[in-house]
Structure formats: C-alpha cells, structure tokens
Amino acid sequence: MRGWVHALCVIAGIAAPISLEAWTTSAHGPRNKAHYAAVEAESMTPKEVVLAFDRLAFDDHKPVEAIMKYVAPDYVDHDPTVKGDRQSAIDYLEKHDWSKGGPQRTIKHVIAEGDLVVLHHHLVRQPGTKGLVAVDIFRVKDGKLAEHWDALQPIPDTSINTHGPF
C-alpha cells in the first residue's frame, strides 16, 4: 500500500467511526441524552429512586418536577388526605408554600427490601413547630414510585420518654 493511500485510509478509518458516534449521540440519534437518561433511571435501585425523588422534591424544592420524573402515571397513594392518584399528589404538594422552602424533611433511616423502601424521617410543615415523626413506605416499579403508604405521629410538646422521638 502506498504511503499516501495508507494515510488517507487512516484518516478515513478514524473519521468514520467518530462521525457515526457524533450522529448516534446527537439529539436525533438512537443513543441521545434522553436514551441514556431513561436507561439510567431504569437502572436505579428502588432506594436510589426514592432518595432522588426526595432530593428533587424537598432539597431542590421542585415537587411537581420530581413527581413528573419519578412517579408512575398509574401511581397509587394511600394517604387519606388525598384522592390517591398522581394528580392528587401534585395538587397536595402544590398547596404548600415552596417559596419559603416548603416542608423541612430530615431523613433518619432508610430501609430497602425488594421493591419496597421505607423512610423514617422528621417532617416539619410549619417552621417553629416540633413537626411529625413520619414513616413513608414506597413501592418502586420500573424506576418509578408506584405506590405509597404513610404513618404520621405528631411530636408532643412534652413527653415522659427520655430518649426523644429519634
């Protein structure tokens, strides 16, 4: 093979796969950012999904975005204060005043078993109050929150318990 032909072959050999890669990872290609984001979401463990939802909703104060991203369209909620579908969860969270930071949530324990994740946390809805001891149970399916149960216990001003609620 002549030198200049070899040089052209090397250039073409490098340029062709790079061009293909640029196309496949472009917005119109089969390996675009949305594709990898979807795989990433599907690959998350149930615990990672719940914590990612929690971070986006409560730490970043974007509850609606968190629900749209991490809650399944056919979501079932057993909280007696909402109707029980995804839209009712959005309506419920939108009632809070997120401009002042929204509810404060401090996670104490996270327990994951199979597709279930249990969060034991301290929930303060009104600043200056003692808040609630809360247990949320989530069922995760295909990288999305599919079902939710909760149990809430107000923290009393006085208690005979010397260990505190946490």
């Binding site: 090397v10 073409a12 490098i14 390996r31 990898y36 599907e42 690959s43």
Partner: protein
C-alpha cells in the same frame, strides 16, 4: 506465501475487490477500536453507560473490577495495529474476544434493533479481517497437530529458519 498472495491479488479482479473490502473493514474497525480505547482514557464523548439496565450493571461491574481498562487497552493497541497495517493477523485474533463480548452485550444485554446491528457488525468486521488473513491461520487448523516442539521458538529467534 506472501508472494503467492500478491500474485492472487494481481491476477484476479475479484481478489483485488476482496482486498479492498477487507482493507475498508480493517481501517474502519481500527479507527473504531482506537477511538473507543482512547475515549476511555481521555473522554472525548461521554462514556456510554449501557443501553439497558442489564448492560448498565455489566459495564459498571467491568469498570469497578478494572476489567474495562484491560478491554479498552486491548482496543487501543489492536486499533493502532489495524491502522498501522502491522501485526494485523495477530491483532485480529487478540481483538476477537473483545468483539465477541461487545456483540454479546449489544445483542443479548441490550437487545434493541440498533444494538443488535452493532453486535453483528463488530463481529462481522473482525471476522472479515481474519478471513482476509486466513492463510496465516491455516496451520492452526491442522487436525493432526503432531508433537509439541521448540521449532516455533527457534524460528522466532532466528536460530533455525526451517523450524525443524
């Protein structure tokens, strides 16, 4: 053997066409492997993390166990050999396990149409390069292999050109 190959290529038009096809496969495959090998170490494009949860886990395990670095090192070295047009039969053999793993990951673990296509293309290209140098591998296809000997070592280090 090399002169016989040259004769075949010169005399037969189909031999020349085959040579061009194999060269095209070799340089494309070489560029592909070199680029992917380099990309692991220098990240020109985001490193693909797998196109299904299963391949995502598999790639994560390869990265965590550092086996991915070995794979990418093999891609880099064999890609250079293909592009330099040196040690091509050896590079085709060394690259083949990597090609099979890429095909397995794409066809079985990913399974979507694009990945299945990539899986067959990578094995096809590697196989085509190997077939293009099949004359180098024909001695390996001997059924009656005979006794082991030091003939290969003597030939490699120039002590005995006949090897016997």
């Amino acid at each position: 053997m090399a002169s016989e190959k040259a004769e075949f290529r010169r005399d037969m038009p189909e031999g020349r066409v085959f040579m061009v096809i194999v060269y095209a496969a070799q340089f494309f495959f070489g560029g592909w492997f070199l680029y992917n090998g380099l990309n692991y170490f220098f990240t020109f494009f985001p490193q693909p993390s797998g196109s299904s949860p299963l391949s995502h886990e598999l790639i994560k395990a390869l990265i965590d166990s550092r086996l991915f670095a070995v794979v990418k090192g093999i891609e880099l070295v064999t890609g250079l050999a293909f592009l330099a047009n040196r040690f091509v039969p050896l590079a085709a053999v060394v690259a083949f396990p990597v090609s099979l793993c890429i095909a397995q990951l794409n066809i079985i673990a990913n399974g979507d149409a694009f990945s299945v296509g990539v899986g067959f293309v990578v094995v096809g290209l590697n196989g085509l390069i190997a077939v293009g140098h099949l004359d180098r591998f024909l001695p390996m296809l001997a059924c009656d292999n005979g006794d082991p000997s030091s003939a290969g070592l003597r030939r490699l280090f120039g002590g005995d050109q006949r090897g016997r």
